[in-house]
């Protein structure tokens, strides 16, 4: 199992580096403007007071964009970080097994004495390590830039919201991984997982203003990710069990499907 993890990480070393650079750049570019926003917070807040409710929901439902917490939430944790990590997560989930199968290199692995269960576990572990590494780089960048731009939010809260974001995107990855493990094409796996991820963002966001969306929103992981509540310490942590449940369910179904299915 260890060689598969090691060589999967080796094969993805450059792409992981570029994703890390992207995350660092995204966070840095967003955070570096905080001092300018802070100085004009009052005027900027007034211009946001008249924003329509539906648009407000798409921005996280908060009316506070320019306090330290409001800025951090709206610029990093509500959408940008879940978006960039979500794309990486879905890409990993759909390709860890899917790419090996599509390019037939999976035959090299399965012709060796490694069980399908161990192969699946090794690939899932490699994906989690990559996603975890890029998330940690994002976390460190956020904490460091927050110190640089004097954004006054406790590091502990940044760690907690990053952890919730990691679980959110890991659930996207698990959905994509399940779809490729049951033999769906990479395109289908990416498409369906993207709908679950970012369609879920739209539906969960609009559910604040559209009543009939309230029930379907509960099916999507994004509904349970409330970054502002975590930063304001009002979050109901039992919501995270939804992510854990999805990840475990997808892992179990992936294993059930992959261990006996035909590899073409």
């Amino acid at each position: 199992m260890i060689p598969v993890i090691k060589w999967t990480l080796w094969q993805r070393r450059w792409s992981t580096m570029w994703w890390s650079i992207g995350v660092v750049a995204m966070i840095f570019i967003n955070m570096v403007f905080y001092p300018s926003f802070k100085d004009q917070a009052e005027q900027l807040q007034k211009s946001f007071d008249n924003i329509p409710d539906a648009a407000l929901q798409l921005l996280g439902g908060s009316t506070d964009f320019f306090s330290a917490i409001g800025f951090l939430n709206s610029q990093i944790f509500f959408l940008s970080l879940p978006l960039i990590l979500g794309i990486l997560a879905i890409s990993l989930g759909s390709s860890l097994i899917g790419k090996e199968e599509q390019e037939l290199t999976i035959e090299s692995l399965l012709s060796r004495p490694i069980s399908r269960t161990r192969l699946l576990l090794a690939k899932a572990s490699a994906g989690t390590i990559i996603l975890g590494a890029v998330t940690c780089i994002g976390l460190l960048t956020t904490i460091l830039t927050a110190l640089i731009v004097d954004l006054d939010v406790a590091a502990k809260l940044i760690v907690l919201v990053t952890f919730a974001c990691f679980l959110l995107v890991l659930s996207f990855s698990a959905i994509a991984f399940l779809l490729s493990s049951i033999g769906r094409t990479r395109g289908a796996s990416i498409g369906i997982a993207t709908f679950m991820a970012f369609g879920g963002y739209l539906i969960s966001s609009l559910a604040g203003t559209v009543d009939w969306l309230k029930f379907p929103a509960k099916v999507f992981p994004f509904h349970y990710y409330q970054s502002e509540a975590i930063l304001r310490e009002t979050f109901n942590w039992s919501n995270l069990w939804f992510f854990v449940g999805i990840i475990l369910l997808c892992a179990a179904l992936s294993w059930l499907a992959f261990r006996r299915r035909d590899i073409y």
Binding site: I2, P3, V4, K6, W7, Q11, E103, L104, T105, E107, S108, L109, L110, S111, R112, P113, I114, S115, R260, R261, D262, I263, Y264
Partner: protein, 306 residues
């Protein structure tokens, strides 16, 4: 790990495979055996079921019915343990394009440690393999060499090869036949599919021909040879006894001029030589025995069922 039953070799019993809801079976009650030290050639036209058989033996796809064991291990239940003893190569060997040969073989040997350290380098020298270039930059033949090395480097007791010489030049093909000969001497079970009939004739002890998922015939190469038509060019001092020649069972006159005739004969040669002994012969040439025609007869469905 000790073998369960090394002497049993490869045993396939009534193996069948149906893809999805297809009405037609891709494999239909396939049964065959290959003993240790035997090289078995598995032949058939495209889509006959050769690759399906091999992929089922490797447990890439599951059988719809029947069983198969290799060295006593069930191909499905004991798949992981079994693969400690198996070397596999597909004709369309797929690679990690960015890895070099050295890195790829390193990866594979981490998954399945080698019995003799450095054996992959010895194989590399014999096959003139390129280890330092990324696999994606190699020609098909050079990639296939790396594929062959990964199949042989852990010195397996069973070799399952799907069109193994695809892309090899004639010199490397000869080296491959040498490697198979050595494997046979070590008592390795070799099960190889091929399209190249001359290769099968050269390498295999026995052949099975599959068509539409069914094994239609199994013969030793010696048996095939006895069924093959032989070609003679005969020069007569006098007039050719064409009428008498044509009466011989299994004989066909392919061309003739005034006193030289080319004939094609299946089966017993005695009646031909009896006739020749009664005539004044000035020359007789035999052409190399060619099994291709026998193979093609079965390929095209003119051969008997097993």
């Amino acid at each position: 790990m000790p073998n369960k039953d090394r002497d049993s070799g490869l045993v396939i019993k009534k193996l069948s495979k149906r893809y999805g809801k297809s009405e037609q079976l891709a494999l239909d009650d396939l049964s065959l055996e290959v003993k240790p030290g035997e090289v078995y050639g598995f032949l058939g036209p495209n889509g006959a079921g050769k690759s399906t058989t091999i992929r089922t033996l490797m447990n890439f796809i599951g059988p719809s019915g029947g069983t198969a064991t290799i060295l006593g291990y069930d191909i499905v239940e004991d798949a992981t343990t079994l693969k400690r003893h198996v070397g596999y190569l597909s004709g369309d060997f797929s690679v990690y394009e960015k890895m070099t040969g050295k890195q790829y073989l390193g990866y594979m040997s981490e998954l399945q440690p080698l019995k003799s350290k450095g054996y992959e380098k010895k194989l590399g020298k014999r096959l003139k393999a390129e280890f330092s270039k990324p696999l994606g930059e190699l020609s098909r033949g050079n990639r296939q060499k790396i594929g062959l090395i990964q199949a042989l480097m852990h010195e397996p007791e069973v070799l399952i090869l799907d069109e193994p010489t695809s892309g090899f030049d004639p010199l490397i093909q000869e080296e491959f036949y040498g490697l198979m000969k050595e494997a046979k001497q070590r008592g390795v079970v070799v099960f190889a599919s091929s399209h190249i009939l001359s290769e099968v004739q050269k390498m295999c002890d026995r052949v099975g021909i599959i068509r539409e998922g069914k094994l239609i015939v199994e013969r030793s190469i010696a048996e095939m040879a006895s069924e093959a038509a032989q070609t003679f060019d005969i020069t007569f001092a006098d007039k050719i006894p064409l009428t008498e020649l044509k009466k011989i069972k299994g004989l066909k006159v392919t061309s003739h001029n005034q006193n030289r005739v080319t004939i094609h004969i299946h089966g017993k040669l005695a009646p031909l030589f009896t006739l020749l002994s009664k005539n004044n012969i000035t020359g007789i040439d035999t052409r190399t025995l060619d099994l291709e025609e026998v193979f093609l007869r079965f390929y095209e469905g003119k051969g008997e069922r097993r």
